[in-house]
């Protein structure tokens, strides 16, 4: 069951991720990215991280992608007219990407620790919500507060950037 879910959602995630890069219309790219993020959230749930999966759907597939679509419609971006392909950039890009994948496969296949099976939980488990609450608000309370300040700074920065005349 878990195996089927993993292969199904991993394939879906990579296929829609590839269509983000290959499609020409920015709206199709954004919708493909939404589907890719939803499949990624499903992969998080197969890893017993339901909290992260739900946050992924709410924040990424919801808020962030709506913001992207909003900007695409605001700027009225059409399908890119096909320009002559920059040969150097294309060949260089494909070379870097294939070298990256080759090294990744080599490193993952040569590390025996990575081929372990999914370990089972041992003993009584505290509920996930409770443990995330404890970790977030006891161990990491300071970073949590700092992130709040960061969001405030980002909000003020966006308002300043969007004004008609930058002084």
């Amino acid at each position: 069951m878990l195996t089927v879910a993993f292969w199904f959602f991993a394939t879906l995630m990579i296929a829609f991720g590839a269509s983000v890069v290959l499609l020409r219309n920015p709206v199709s790219c954004a919708m493909s990215l939404v589907m890719s993020f939803i499949s990624l959230a499903a992969l998080f749930i197969t890893l017993d991280a339901a909290f992260i999966g739900i946050i992924q759907i709410l924040v990424y597939a919801g808020a962030v992608m709506v913001l992207f679509l909003f900007i695409i419609m605001l700027l009225d971006l059409r399908t890119e007219e096909s320009r002559s392909l920059n040969i150097g950039a294309t060949v260089g890009g494909l070379l870097v990407v294939s070298a990256f994948i080759a090294f990744l496969v080599k490193i993952i296949s040569s590390t025996p620790a990575f081929s372990q099976k999914l370990p089972d939980f041992v003993g009584p488990q505290t509920s996930e919500v409770k443990m995330i609450g404890f970790t977030l608000f006891q161990t990491f309370w300071l970073p949590f507060e700092v992130v709040g300040v960061l969001l405030l700074v980002a909000t003020v920065g966006v308002v300043v950037l969007s004004r008609k005349s930058l002084r």
């Binding site: 890069v21 990624l40 962030v64 700027l75 870097v96 994948i101 372990q116 370990p119 960061l150 969001l151």
Partner: protein, 105 residues
């Protein structure tokens, strides 16, 4: 059962697709979307390591909290980045990276 290597490979391939998008695409919005994809791919490998590295049979939630912070920072980054793209579009009427070559050497 999927192994840790399967998850790491899925995350690595998603990261590579995002990297390819950043290098091959020329619309600044799609480049930004590919960047978001690379960020989420890193999150997948963090969560996979957290699930496979149990501490005394219990899950270690530190990685999930780290992913939570990464998602929060990414949301702030998207807001600021898109505001920059809008003001860039206002100044130049284009989102095509090859038309934005003022800083080119």
């Amino acid at each position: 059962m999927p192994t840790l290597a399967n998850y790491l490979l899925a995350s690595g391939i998603l990261f590579a697709i995002g990297l390819g998008g950043v290098m091959l695409r020329r619309s600044i919005i799609v480049i930004f979307m590919s960047l978001e994809m690379m960020l989420s791919a890193a999150n997948l490998s963090l969560v996979a390591f957290s699930r496979y590295g149990l501490v005394n049979g219990h899950q270690n939630f530190n990685a999930q909290i780290l992913v939570f912070f990464i998602i929060t920072v990414a949301a702030a980054e998207v807001a600021v980045g898109l505001a920059i793209i809008v003001s860039l579009y206002r100044a130049r009427q284009t989102t095509h990276v090859e038309d934005l070559d003022t800083l080119k050497f």
